[in-house]
């Protein structure tokens, strides 16, 4: 690893863009409905002219800032800015009602930084080792891993059946374009622009940004924000002592959840909250404005960030929807995520790791400043913001290839994403399936060519067999549980999770 690149984020070309990314992320995250995924999707094309370290560090800044920013509206408005902060409402808002908004926001900021740094340590120590191990992976292992990722996404959807259905649609869409082995064009219908496949970045911008704008248009009601005095954002020594165990435990839970492909920040936050409550000496205080609750959720959801980067950078498998979009950023800079990235571009990897740590510290500094003006941020007019977002979407989609076909792709996927969101089909499942689809197909076919069409190759190789087993279990366990539950309730909703 090139250690001189560790200082890269402090260079005049990189540092300002990380500050901009973290600040923009906090603002986007704080505004209900605008997520970190959307922020990263919008800004991926803008990084085109930057160096890989600058562009990708900015995206990481938006990621960590966005996840943290969600806590501001969760605490002040009881409306989570991002799904990751939904659990923060439980204790954060009651604290604000008791006049302790500063304490809640302060703990959220410190906990987010703590969680982010714990996950950074895991990322820096685990990722190079995992990448070394991943060098041993052949097509069978990659196929099994991608399959595991796909089953996780499907089962984590609110409805397993809908998750599987939309996942298959996403995978089918990913087959558009030249066949990865023979080069034969599939589903291009004579349109030359489709030969390279559906434009991935415009599709992501459509799925996450345009769809969100359409959802926001349904209800243009502006939230009335009370003038809240935010003071005393530094937790006391007693509060640190009370929360330290929870912070450590939740950060580890968040990191582990982040590493599992297809999971996300909201799952980590709820799991950590439940664990903190279960192991607390005063579980009855949770939900009434207990600072430990805020510490648990905020440290774990930010810990997911570093964890989710582990499978993305080492295996090319996104850990959550933001890293799925982040993958687009890597592609734009001509970087193929996977173990070879660590061998071919160790300088960029060192810069990214360092950028991630810097982004977390900047989140702490900027966060503590921003929370003082939190009420003002929440007053940003939604109407003008929506127009600006659509304009950014157009610039982002067009600027990659200077092709209006990409804009059409973006609008089409925006509509698809909106309809998915309205009807309980997960856009994240579709997006991740679009990424994992080509990996699954290519490696399955290569493995079968290697084994003379013997499917036993997938169970004869130990790593592959483990992932296949995990994939089967991840589908079977929730299915059996839901069948058992529905039999108990005597309703035929067998496939509802």
């Amino acid at each position: 690893m090139d250690f001189s690149m560790i200082l890269a984020p402090f260079s005049p070309a990189v540092f300002p863009v990380i500050v901009l990314g973290v600040f923009g992320g906090i603002i986007l995250g704080a505004l209900p409905g605008l997520t970190a995924t959307m922020g990263v999707a919008l800004l991926v094309p803008m990084t085109f002219g930057m160096t890989p370290v600058a562009g990708l560090s900015m995206l990481m800044g938006i990621y960590v800032g966005g996840i943290y920013g969600g806590s501001i509206s969760a605490i002040l408005l009881k409306t989570p800015g991002t799904p990751a902060s939904a659990a923060t409402c439980l204790d954060g808002h009651p604290m604000a009602q008791k006049g302790m908004a500063g304490k809640a926001l302060g703990m959220a900021t410190w906990a987010s930084c703590f969680g982010g740094l714990v996950s950074a340590v895991v990322l820096i120590t685990l990722a190079p080792r995992l990448a070394k191990l991943a060098l041993l992976f052949g097509p069978a292992e990659y196929f099994a891993l991608a399959l595991f990722g796909l089953t996780i996404i499907a089962t984590l959807s609110a409805d397993i059946l809908k998750g599987l259905l939309i996942g298959c649609v996403g995978m089918l869409l990913s087959t558009v374009g030249a066949d990865p082995i023979s080069g034969f064009n599939r589903f291009t219908f004579g349109i030359s622009n489709l030969a390279g496949g559906l434009a991935f970045i415009p599709a992501l911008i459509g799925l996450f940004a345009i769809a969100e704008v359409l959802t926001q248009l349904e209800n243009l009601h502006e939230e009335k924000v009370q003038a809240t005095q935010v003071t005393n954002t530094f937790p006391s020594w007693a509060e640190w002592k009370l929360c330290f165990r929870t912070l450590c435990k939740s950060s580890i839970i968040g990191t582990i959840i982040g590493i599992i492909p297809g999971t996300g920040t909201n799952i980590a936050a709820w799991l950590s909250y439940n664990e903190a409550k279960r192991s607390s000496k005063t579980p009855e205080k949770f939900g009434t404005g207990h600072i430990e609750g805020v510490a648990a959720t905020e440290s774990s959801n930010n810990a997911v960030c570093g964890g989710a980067l582990v499978p993305l950078l080492t295996l090319g498998i996104p850990g959550d929807s933001v890293t799925a979009v982040f993958l687009g950023g890597l592609i734009i800079h001509g970087l193929a995520p996977g173990p070879r990235l660590f061998i071919e571009h160790p300088d960029i990897i060192a810069g990214l790791f360092s950028g991630f740590v810097v982004a977390n510290f900047l989140m702490l500094i900027l966060g503590l400043i921003v929370v003082k003006f939190a009420a003002n941020i929440l007053r940003i007019p939604k109407k003008q913001l929506l127009v600006a977002i659509v304009i950014f979407c157009f610039i982002g989609s067009y600027s990659i290839n200077q092709n209006s076909m990409d804009i059409i792709t973006m609008i089409a996927f925006g509509l698809i994403g909106y309809l998915c969101e309205r009807n309980g089909f997960s856009q994240s499942a579709m997006c991740i399936a679009m990424i994992l689809g080509p990996i699954t197909e290519l490696n399955c076919r290569l493995a079968l060519i290697d084994s003379n069409l013997s499917p036993l190759i997938f169970v004869q190789r130990p790593i592959s067999a483990i992932f296949i087993l995990l994939a089967v279990l991840s589908l079977a366990v929730p299915l059996i549980r839901s069948i058992r539950n529905s039999m108990r309730r005597d309703t035929p909703r067998y496939f509802a999770s």
Partner: protein, 161 residues
Amino acid sequence: MQRSADIIASLLFFVFSVCAWMAVKALPTKGAAAEDLGVDFFPYLLVIAIAVFSVVLLARTLLSKAVATKSPAMPRQAIVRVCLCIGICSAYAALYEWWGFYISTALFSLAFLALVGERRLWVMISFIVGMEAFLYVGFYKILEVSLPEGTLLYDLFPTLF
């Protein structure tokens, strides 16, 4: 509401799978090597899966007892707003390269602000001027993002060029 939406969704997915099946049939069955599964293997697998899952979703929805609506019906005004937004975005996409970024963005902003209920002319004009100045400096000059200049002026006054 959720029940009927699920029925419609499952039917749409089934129709999609039938259409996709017909498109897959046009693909060659042979792959790059004798041991290759072929160009059409995965698409066939996925089309079958989509058809099966959509039938199961339909059956599940029809067999389930009426449950409390999960998502309330959308007000008519919201539906109109969403449809108009798609229309405005499509028009913006059509004009983007032809009229150029700045003219098409100004018109789009006006239309979109009107759609979201902004009626104050000074707000609209200051938003457009501020936004375009920001995009010109931030994106065109600093980030060097290429923005379409358009051919409108050339089309109208070819002798000037």
